[in-house]
């Protein structure tokens, strides 16, 4: 029997049992579609995070005070060291030839008040370079003045949400407000932008770094953001930074360097695992579909026993009968998977329309794996019914003498 004959024979069988075929196709395609949709959510989350990191800029390097082992775990947010990382360290690093911009940061929480309104917010002390390094845009007014690199001045840039809470719709520029005991003049307001690396830039006050030293009464930096001139100088720059810190810190390079790559990799691993696990959960529904195929095939073997007996009498060996039944299930699961992939892609396209900011994306590996599992479980679970059909006694089968529940 040629493959084309088998295909024709089985499509006729499937077309004849329209409802059974439709039901099985629906079950299989639902299973495949759910794998596609769920993995597209996981993969979307991964891409979303990756997008956030690339907004940070590829040439960014972060220096944290304290030496921390980073192997395997998520990047450390706070190092611990007996020796502070200071603005003087940052200024020394700024002299390295491969560094384009440098933004040391002092961070703390402070009470920001204007008139009768007060809010407890994260306050960052930094330099004007901070804005281009973090891709922050000014909506209103100016960023910090260039003098803020190394001198204290009572100037302040507000996050969009904080501005709204303190000033409502009125113009905040050149208004004075208090942070703790000190007075600052608003010089600019950040453009509205979502969360970035866990920091809500909308709810934040940014002041010159020297002012922050005074405000928090500490010279210890929270971290230093560096932007390299060229991406391929990453390793070289890392070595230079460590050398420079070692010279300044009595022979110890007690800082931790994090590149965007290493952070991204950590998130990437976590999210890929997440995607694979939700995909695997959805794939269980394909096993259920396989069991349904088995039951329906068993019924089909009983219903078609006269035909099976006839085929054997006409000279179809057991292997041919088995192949016919396996082939039928292959046809069903194959068509069902293709339908499921199409339905899943459609759902993903719809989701993209509804939530354009979230990059839903069904990865090819998930589609292939779903198809493979669908076809595999179809074959696995129709093996038994196919063997039963192959083992039928032709004479008894033709008489319809074989019971339905044997």
């Amino acid at each position: 029997m040629t493959l084309i004959d088998q295909l024709r024979f089985n499509t006729q069988v499937l077309a004849r049992q329209r409802w059974r075929t439709a039901l099985l196709l629906l079950t299989i395609s639902l299973g495949v579609a759910s794998v596609v949709v769920l993995t597209s959510v996981g993969e979307g989350a991964r891409r979303y995070i990756a997008g956030e990191f690339s907004a940070l800029g590829q040439q960014i390097l972060i220096v944290l005070p304290g030496k921390t082992e980073t192997s395997g775990a998520a990047p450390p947010l706070y190092g611990t060291s007996p020796r502070d990382l200071t603005l003087e360290d940052a200024n020394a690093l700024a002299r390295l030839s491969t560094i384009a911009r440098i933004a040391p940061i002092i961070a703390g929480t402070a009470r920001v008040s204007h008139g009768s309104v007060a809010r407890e917010v994260v306050t960052l002390g930094t330099t004007p370079d901070f804005f281009p390094v973090r891709n922050l845009r000014i909506d209103l007014g100016q960023p910090l003045p260039s003098s803020a690199v190394d001198t204290a001045s009572p100037t302040l840039v507000l996050g969009a949400k904080l501005k709204q809470e303190l000033f409502g719709n009125s113009n905040p520029l050149n208004q004075w407000l208090r942070i703790g005991e000190r007075r600052f003049r608003v010089v600019g307001v950040l453009e509205e932008r979502g969360e970035s690396l866990g920091l809500d830039m909308r709810d934040m006050a940014i002041i010159p770094i020297r002012s922050a030293e005074q405000l928090f009464n500490s010279a210890g930096l929270f971290r230093i953001l560096l932007e390299l001139k060229q991406i391929d100088q990453l390793e070289l720059t890392k070595r230079q930074i460590l050398n420079s810190i070692r010279l300044r810190h009595d022979g110890e390079d007690d800082v931790t360097l994090i590149s965007q790559d290493s952070m991204l990799n950590s998130f990437d691993n976590v999210l890929s695992t997440l995607t694979a696990s939700v995909g695997a959960i959805a794939a269980i529904s394909l096993l259920v579909a396989g069991i349904l195929i088995m039951n329906i095939s068993l019924i089909s073997v009983s219903q078609r026993q006269r035909e099976i007996g006839l085929l054997k009498a006409l000279g179809a060996p057991a292997s041919r009968v088995r192949a016919l039944f396996l082939h039928e299930s292959l046809l069903l699961t194959g068509a069902g998977s293709l339908l499921g992939i199409a339905a899943g892609e459609l759902a993903v396209a719809l989701a993209l329309q509804l939530l354009p900011n979230f990059p839903f994306y069904a990865p090819l590996w998930a589609e292939l794996a779903a198809m493979l599992i669908a076809v595999g479980s179809g074959l696995l679970f129709s093996w038994w019914p196919a063997n039963r059909a192959a083992g039928l006694d032709p004479v008894l089968a033709m008489r319809g003498a074989i019971g339905g529940h044997q």
Partner: protein
Amino acid sequence: MNTSRPTNTPLINLSQLNKQYQIGNTPFNALDGIDLQINAGEYVAITGPSGSGKSTLLNMIGLLDRPDKGCYQLLGEATEALDEELRARRRREQIGFIFQAFHLIPRLSALENISLPLMLAGLPRAEQQQRGMQALQQVGLGPQASQRPNQLSGGQQQRVAIARAIVMQPPLLLADEPTGNLDQRSGADVIELLEGLNSQGMTLLIVTHDPALAQRSRRQLQLVDGRIVSDQQP
């Protein structure tokens, strides 16, 4: 396929064939020491009361059943040694079956039903069509090629089944009560068709309980309790 066969070898040679079935706790001898030779081109009717073993004998000859004891040579080949694959192949190539209940597949057209054995043999599609059509014309149903079995009369359905049996041009035709489900006239048509095929050289074995039909054959075997009690040859 059978041209090299020595002319003195019978087409069918059964010796001491036994088949026992268990019915409840008591064993039942369906076939009890059958010795039988049938030569190529013969026209044999097998008669006997129900339960006498005629259908079992036909299934045995048709390689659908295996004997417990004894020897069956088909075209000089001992069939006991054949595995299931080869037995299926012999059925396909050397034996045409005609059943009382026609056994056509309802979803397939007349031509597709006839082409089944050709399809199982793996012949190319064009040849299946052409040989199927030829067989259909041979039984006088050329115009009905694309009709489904339920659009055909009983007599027409049995003629489609006969076309299916001869489409591989087997040397042996086995018919189990071929007229049992037919009225007198279509039954007579079917028998004439089968006798025509016999006169063209096909060996014809008919199992029947109709004495009038048995009378038409040239050799009549009568079975009682699994034994041949009479073998009338001209």
